[in-house]
């Protein structure tokens, strides 16, 4: 069957952005992490799962998570890493983004070969 244009796509791009309370997000994110934690068997898996979810933001997310010693390698900014990776990929800068414990939380962005090559060729002009 055929459908008319999606009304969602017809919405103007620059509509006013709203805000919600930080605690609402923090509590939601905590629940999300706990949900993922129940379904994985390692810290690496948990981080990967969070990155996946983000693929759909920042040490903001880490402020409300207290990581027990046995999980000390877990960095919930993996969620932000996934988010950044998705945004970069969608805007034409494919990269691999990972979260690390370095000077607090560091997001490492490794652009794909093609992006670097493109930059170089643009610089040449």
């Amino acid at each position: 069957f055929t459908r008319g244009k999606s009304p969602l796509l017809e919405r103007p791009l620059c509509r006013p952005r709203g805000e919600v309370s930080l605690s609402a997000f923090a509590l939601l994110f905590c629940e999300l992490v706990q949900y993922c934690q129940r379904r994985v068997y390692s810290v690496a898996e948990l981080q990967a799962k969070l990155a996946q979810l983000g693929h759909q933001r920042e040490p903001l997310v880490n402020t409300f998570i207290s990581v027990p010693r046995e999980n000390s390698t877990l960095n919930c900014a993996a969620f932000s890493a996934g988010l950044v990776e998705a945004v970069l990929g969608a805007s034409g800068f494919p990269a691999k983004v990972t979260a690390h414990w370095h000077k607090g939380t560091t997001l490492m962005i490794k652009f794909e070969e093609g992006v670097i090559a493109r930059e170089k060729s643009l610089e040449g002009r």
């Binding site: 919600v20 309370s21 930080l22 609402a24 939601l28 949900y35 759909q56 933001r57």
Partner: protein
Amino acid sequence: MSRTPGRKQDSHKISRELFVLTYGALVAQLCKDYEKDEDVNSCLDKMGYGIGIRLIDDFLAHSDVKRCRSYSETADMIAQVAFKMYLGVTPTVSCSSAAGNEFSLILDKNPLVDFVEELPAERASLCYCNLLCGVIRGALEMVHLAAEVTFLQDRLKGDAVTEIGITFLRKAEDKKAKKK
């Protein structure tokens, strides 16, 4: 020690989009993990409950509200103060029973569905915002008010409005007294 009148300012806000998209990611993940809509709905409700029992502390800490003396005041508080504080919207409240213990909150605007146009055909029974029901139920339980909270109508399912129904149940203390 004097208190400044009025609600304390909670200046900590974040982008609504981040919140809404995070919620969407959560629902999407649950849909991957569970085949049946009922299971996703139930999971959302449980997670909401987990949030609600902690949210109430944050709510009481950041709002200068007095103790509610009736179910009606409580429903108003949820709609006009809590929803406003956390989601930036104010549903309209109406009492839907003569006994005065059933209320409905009509959400004209629902930020959680900002990017959701309609439910996919295979997810026709999904209560996308079911987390909200759990949140309300959990928060109320922490102030010793047992309630059933469900979605009575849902725009995503084709209804005219989105309506949350809150039914306050008799307090546990009353039940115990009756048994004796």
